[in-house]
């Protein structure tokens, strides 16, 4: 199983790198789709098949398609130089470097700390988390049930958010209001 994981790992990294380096927006979008597929694979390895499916259906299937629609609708010019001047690159690389260093520190640090600080002795979930033995086994049910009891309010809020997004998108994209 580990092999598969590392294959998906490599795939995700390469796809992401290619995504940010390609000049053509359509190419970049396709590479992003590839990244998402790799991630879906990893989701499956992580015992989250439902989420993997959702990832492919919603993210890769709907959001990226929307991206592509817009790219093609706008008929963007590909030829212009698309990367910033050297000062900006320098700044960007410096900042990102710092970020990597910090994340590295975090990564080295996290597993032990999580085990010692955040989890009280003997517990296996975060506070507010749902322990594994409460799972029913039905993968959809496992995600859906908390939506309606523990996380009800965020759920409702999100629905309002979606409504707002729809209205906003329609209004913004109209030629004439």
């Amino acid at each position: 199983m580990h092999i598969v994981f590392w294959i998906f790992f490599a795939s995700a990294v390469v796809s992401a790198a290619m995504c940010i380096l390609r000049r053509n927006p359509v190419s970049a979008a396709m590479w992003l789709v590839s990244t998402m597929f790799s991630l879906a694979g990893i989701f499956v390895i992580m015992d989250a098949p439902f989420l993997a499916a959702i990832q492919v259906l919603v993210y890769a299937g709907a959001v990226m398609v929307l991206f592509l629609f817009v790219i093609m609708l706008l008929n963007l010019d590909v030829t212009a130089s698309d990367v910033r001047g050297s000062l900006s690159i320098g700044g960007a690389v410096a900042v990102t470097g710092l970020l990597i260093v910090e994340l590295g520190a975090l990564w080295v640090y996290t597993p032990d700390r999580l085990a010692q600080e955040l989890l009280p002795a003997g517990a296996t979930t975060f506070p507010g988390g749902i322990p594994a033995d409460a799972m029913s086994g039905n993968i959809v049910l496992d995600v859906a049930k908390p939506l309606f009891d523990a996380y009800l309010i965020p759920f409702e809020a999100t629905s309002v958010l979606l409504l707002a997004a729809v209205v906003g998108a329609v209004v913004l994209a109209k030629r004439r209001i």
Binding site: S88, G91, V95, T96, L98, L99, E102, A105, L106, Y109
Partner: protein, 658 residues
């Protein structure tokens, strides 16, 4: 109210002050009401004189206290420092008030005639009254700060009155010069005050006198105090090096010169030294310095007086010279002699100035009638005026004899006492023999220039001109009357301190004893007796007579040309006429560098560049710079904003990770 509430001391100050206020009101609203001003102005001072006499009589009465003090109100109270507005009438200040209000009153009367046709009549009397107020504050002040109020005030009035006819630039300049030079002296007074507070813990004169026995004789503190006081006196009493304002002060009306620059204000310095006799007695070195300055000034001014042609300038330098003698006296520890000469000098110098005023008044009149522009004050234009002004001439001769030290007249006794005291000090310190020599030489010069003055003005041929002669006349009685009174005092003034050999009781000496207590513990002058005394007297009289004759004969032998025909002076005479060119020297070496410093360094550099440029504009530009820096972030570029956003997030993460 302290003992002696019988005489309301404050009336002394109230009368002239009321006079000032009323005259000011008249000057502002109805300047043509000269009659009322003539009543109020002199009236106020004469009323003050009456109060002064009453105060004197009260102190004179047997069994009377040595002093009367009134406390008007608390002025400063800060920690241990307590200064009240308080006035003290003791033996010395009582004498001074008599001189100030008496001579002052007579001069006020004289001014009625002298200033009759001047448009600023009310303003003149207002200023004159104000001067009397401040002079009385100075003399009656019970502590140094109160005295300083008066000190400054008389300086102010001097400025106002010297520049009375301010339309002429030279007059205004003279007023400024007097005030500014006085200020240099005031610095000395202030430093003395501060040091006294620091060293003795008090600034009240009575307490200083009591505590002066604690002073270390010739110690640094007391020497410093004494020298600073001497600086103040050099400014106020026109001694070297701060005397040049006095000749220039002759730009003011002549009665002003008589009152302020002969009789009263310039004597404030002598008064202060006598008041501080406790301090000076403990500072023999400083006293020696004072005596030296006095002697030097006396001789120096005397030489200049020999060659001045303006009648008032001769008298001005004469005043400087006589003040020098007074300082020589108090510097030698002869405080009584100094005060004695102060009083007699007030009498005869007032006569001389007022007489000169009458002469100038007549000369003006004469030139006015012929529309001539000749100088009415130049003695070369005068001559033989005795024919038209007999009274003035006679009275001025009385004063001349007094100043020359001819026996019976007032000046003889006072000057003699000074010379004798200085001579007797010589037994202890040989340098005082030198001072005596200088003083005697000064007496000779005094007699010479006074003789010259009288000869040029009243004797011989008249040089004024045929047409003007018709308009020459004696001064009106309102002017000659006060002159006569003062003349009488010049004759009889010696009575106040008649020495024993002449059958007197030395009244003044006894009168001033309570005031001079602090110094008598240390210094007791042994006056010469017997043959030495007579020899000294004889020598002084001889000097006076020789000088007078010499001065008169020198004029009679020479032929004096009127200014327009006069040949330019040569040699040492030129130096004397030019007053040793001291003014030019001061201008070159002191005034111009100060001006330069003020203009270039203080103004251009510090004020304009440093304060305006660097501090004010600089800080504005600095803040502008910061603002500009901040504005550089507002590019409108999303990319930059993102960069900053991420950088901020990274930083926060870093902080959290710590």
């Amino acid at each position: 109210m302290s003992p002696g509430a019988g005489v309301p001391l404050w009336l002394l100050l109230l009368f002239p002050l009321a006079g000032f206020i009323i005259n000011t009101a008249i000057a502002f609203t109805r300047p043509s009401w000269k009659g009322l001003v003539s009543l109020v102005g002199p009236g106020a001072v004469l009323a003050a004189f009456a109060v002064a006499v009453a105060g004197f009589l009260q102190l004179q009465a047997p069994g009377a206290p040595d002093e009367l003090t009134i406390h008007l109100w608390k002025w400063i109270e800060a920690g241990d420092l307590k200064i009240d507005i308080a006035f003290r009438l003791d033996h010395l200040s009582s004498l001074m008030t008599l001189v100030v209000t008496g001579v002052g009153g007579l001069i006020h009367l004289f001014s009625i005639g002298y200033m009759k046709s001047d448009d600023g009549y009310a303003r003149y009397f207002a200023y004159l009254n104000l001067f009397i107020v401040f002079m009385l504050v100075l003399v009656l002040g019970s502590s140094m700060p109160v005295m300083f109020i008066g000190w400054e005030g008389v300086g102010l009035c001097s400025y106002l009155l010297i520049g009375f006819w301010y339309g002429v630039q030279a007059n205004a300049d003279a007023g400024k010069k007097a005030f500014i030079m006085n200020r240099i002296g005031d610095f000395g007074f202030l430093m003395a005050m501060f040091l006294t507070w620091h060293g003795l813990g008090t600034v009240d004169f009575a307490e200083i006198a009591e505590k002066s026995s604690q002073l270390v004789t010739n110690g640094p503190l007391v020497t410093a105090i004494a020298l600073f006081i001497a600086l103040g006196c050099a400014g106020k009493s026109a001694q070297i090096p701060l005397y040049t304002w006095l000749p220039d002060a002759m730009a003011g009306p002549t009665p002003v010169s008589a009152l302020i620059h002969a009789a009263t204000m310039v004597t404030a310095g002598v008064y202060l030294v006598v008041r501080s006799n406790g301090i000076f007695a403990h500072a023999p070195t400083a006293s020696l310095v004072v005596a030296a300055i006095g002697a030097a000034t006396a001789l120096f001014a005397g030489t200049i007086g020999l060659r001045q042609n303006d009648i008032k300038k001769v008298l001005a330098f004469s005043t400087v010279s006589q003040l020098g003698l007074m300082f020589l006296a108090v510097g030698s520890g002869a405080y009584v002699a100094g005060i004695f000469h102060l009083v007699t000098h007030a009498f005869f110098k007032a006569v001389l100035f007022l007489g000169a005023g009458s002469v100038i008044h007549a000369m003006h009149h004469a030139y006015h009638s012929t529309h001539s522009h000749a100088d009415a004050q130049d003695m070369r234009n005068m001559g033989g005026l005795r024919r038209w002004m007999p009274w003035t001439s006679a009275l001025m001769w009385i004063a001349t004899l007094a100043i020359a030290g001819i026996p019976v007249f007032a000046g003889f006794f006072s000057k003699d006492e000074i010379l004798a005291s200085v001579f007797s000090r010589g037994a202890g310190q040989a340098v005082f023999y030198l001072f005596w020599g200088l003083a005697s030489l000064t007496s000779l010069l005094t007699a010479i220039y006074m003789g010259r003055l009288m000869a040029m003005t009243f004797m011989g041929q008249n040089r004024t001109g045929e047409a003007e002669q018709a308009a020459l006349h004696e001064a009106p009685w309102v002017m000659t009357g006060p002159l006569a009174v003062l003349g009488l005092l010049s004759l009889a003034g010696g009575l106040i301190n008649l020495p024993h050999f002449a059958g007197g009781h030395a009244w003044l000496e006894h009168w001033l004893e309570p005031v001079l207590k602090p110094s008598h513990e240390l210094v007791q002058l042994t006056m010469p007796e017997g043959s030495t005394e007579f020899a000294l007297i004889g020598f002084a009289v001889l000097v006076g007579v020789v000088g007078l004759v010499w001065g008169v004969r020198a004029v009679q032998r020479a032929s004096i040309a009127t200014p327009e025909h006069a040949a330019p002076e040569t040699g040492f005479a030129r130096v004397l006429t030019g007053q040793y060119f001291i003014d030019a020297i001061y201008d070159r070496f002191i005034v111009r560098p100060v001006h330069w410093f003020a203009r270039t360094v203080l103004w251009k550099t510090i004020d304009q560049w440093l304060v305006d440029g660097v501090a004010v504009m600089g800080s504005a530009r600095l803040l502008q710079g910061f603002g500009w820096l901040g504005s550089r972030f507002q590019t409108g570029q999303l990319g930059l904003y993102l960069l900053l956003f991420v950088a901020g997030a990274v930083w926060v993460l870093g902080v959290v990770l710590q």
